[in-house]
Amino acid sequence: MSRETSFTFDGAPMAAVEGQTIAAALIENGVMSWRTTRFGDRPRGLFCGIGVCFDCLITVNGEPNVRACLSAVEPGDDVRTQAGDGHV
């Protein structure tokens, strides 16, 4: 039933299942962190998993601070590691 789709992470193509969250798709592709913190420059990934903690923030199609745990992958998404506040 589930259909395959694809997106890119930091430019690299990755597969996902339609409807899957960005966090799930990344973890399935072996990516555990996709953000670095503002002060300590430390890696972060999925934490609460239900939209409460905002630790999994990521940049999607140029838009920073998207919660990867709640947002479903859309075909062709350009997903990028977010550094610090995500604004460039």
Partner: protein, 478 residues
């Protein structure tokens, strides 16, 4: 008066949350003829428990057949399909306020549509926003691969992805068993379940409650399944450190006494690539708090919305159901949802949808599940000894990267004596999550632990951030 307030459509009831409580409340209120709008941030109804599960599940349910979750969910889908219930998924109520005698509920789209805002007016509101995992900071908990038990569970159930090949499950409560079960089912290896309390008394306590036998049976079922998989279920043990460079590579565990103080010389390292952890749950009370609803400390010491026997809060027209009134599990949430739906209809002068007998069963079930929740919290409390493992360099606030030493300095050197001062001095709780993850731990580290202190920490004018441009322009979609 804002323009958007005038233009906002008015409904009888807005139900915030489409988990077990919200679904049940919506069906009962709709059966009474109320115009109901249900708001939920997920893609489908079901909340944290049922999301990702098949719509008709096999969970045992007490009471009349047509009040089981499976039946309620089927009716919810029918009523949504026929337009009787206006169900809005992927929406978050970012704020709620009073306007004349009505409530104004302010909605925002999901993170990819966050500029899409809309206001609703309702004559009554049911808050059924659930709960999230409680965390007790420890060295290394900010490493990638460490995640909440609820998050791990939803990752597997909702997306079919396991967080790691070797996942340690730790914290306290029977939920650890559920998480482990899900992980095992999907092919993960669980090297250990690290339970800080002694769960054996749960069986006796739960079995003593009328109707509690099914739960203790469920619990024993989990335990025997774990035994089949040869997963060690360690009692009175805690993860005291997550070890790794850029992700978790191992955890250090140790035996603890009844107060959770580490027994010296018992620590050892378990290699893993994921840690799912949680120490019970924190009720999501933001929206009720915005309206100034009275709060109390629940059986687990956490802040919950104070309700009367009809689930009415201290704010007329505002009701609360499910985990927001006290963390008690999915069955308690469902029956509270039923009662809240009936109470809201009564408040609006609508004919009752439940028979007197039906209502009696609901009330009896609520009492049962309250007893169950008390047994749960008596067996799986949080003990003060966790603070001993918090070093000065242990991260307290993940968002603002505030360490425990800074919190201690605020108290010892700067003269902070309340929640607000600690927050303003240290910035703990001021970041993206607005203190949801750290505030109960910061509160405990400071030794506060009162309704006042936890309530002050839970003041959140916005549930989720909203773009200034959207706020400046007012309503963008109805």
């Amino acid at each position: 008066m804002a323009m958007s307030d005038i233009a906002a459509p008015t409904v009888d009831v807005v139900i915030l949350g489409a988990g077990a409580a919200g679904v049940a409340a919506a069906v009962v209120a709709a059966r009474s003829g109320c115009r109901v709008t249900v708001i939920d941030n997920g893609p489908t109804p079901g909340g944290q428990y049922y999301r990702g599960a098949p719509p008709i599940d096999s969970e045992p349910s007490s009471g009349p057949r047509d009040l089981s979750y499976a039946e309620l969910r089927a009716e919810f889908d029918r009523l949504t399909g026929s337009g009787v219930i206006d169900y809005r998924s992927r929406r978050t109520a970012y704020a709620i306020s009073r306007h004349d005698d009505d409530f104004v509920i302010r909605l925002r789209g999901d993170d990819r549509h966050r500029g899409e805002i809309a206001d609703f007016r309702a004559r009554a509101v049911i808050v059924a926003t659930g709960a999230f995992d409680r965390h007790l900071p420890f060295p290394g908990w900010e490493l990638p691969g460490v995640m909440s038990g609820g998050g791990a569970q939803l990752l597997v159930k909702g997306s079919g992805v396991i967080p790691g090949q070797r996942a340690v499950v730790a914290g306290t409560g029977p939920f650890l068993l559920a998480v482990s079960g899900t992980l095992l089912e999907h092919g993960a290896h669980v090297p250990a379940i690290v339970e800080a309390n002694n769960p054996s008394r749960f069986i006796t306590r739960a079995s003593a409650i009328r109707g509690g036998l099914s739960k203790s049976g469920e619990f024993l079922g989990y335990v025997s399944r774990l035994a089949r998989h040869r997963v060690p279920y360690l009692h009175r043990h805690r993860v005291i450190e997550a070890i790794g460079v850029d992700r978790v590579e191992a955890v250090r565990i140790a035996r603890v006494d009844a107060d959770w103080r580490v027994v010296e010389g018992t620590d050892r390292v378990i290699e893993c690539d994921a840690l799912a952890i949680g120490y019970g749950f924190v009720a999501q009370t933001d929206l009720a708090g915005q309206l100034g609803a009275q709060m109390v400390l629940g059986a687990d010491g956490g802040l919950v919305v104070d309700v009367d026997p009809n689930l009415s809060t201290s704010v007329p027209g505002l009701f609360a159901a499910g985990e927001t009134t006290g963390v008690g599990g999915v069955e308690a949430a469902r029956v509270e949802g039923l009662l809240a739906g009936a109470s809201v209809a009564d408040h609006l002068g609508r004919p009752p949808a439940l028979t007197r007998r039906g209502l009696d069963v609901v009330r009896r079930d609520i009492a049962t599940w309250q007893g169950f929740a008390e047994a749960l919290h008596a067996t799986f409390p949080v003990r003060d000894g966790w603070r001993d493992q918090v070093r000065d360099d242990t991260m307290m606030c993940r968002c603002e990267e505030v360490r425990a030493g800074q919190v201690r300095e605020a108290i010892d050197d700067l003269g902070a004596r309340d929640t607000r001062a600690v927050k303003l001095f240290t910035r703990a709780g001021m970041g993206w999550c607005q203190g949801r993850i750290c505030s109960s731990a910061v509160d405990s580290l400071c030794g506060f632990g009162t309704t006042q202190s936890l309530g002050d920490a839970a003041v959140r004018p916005l549930v989720v951030p909203v773009p200034l441009g959207a706020l400046a322009n007012g309503q963008m979609e109805g």
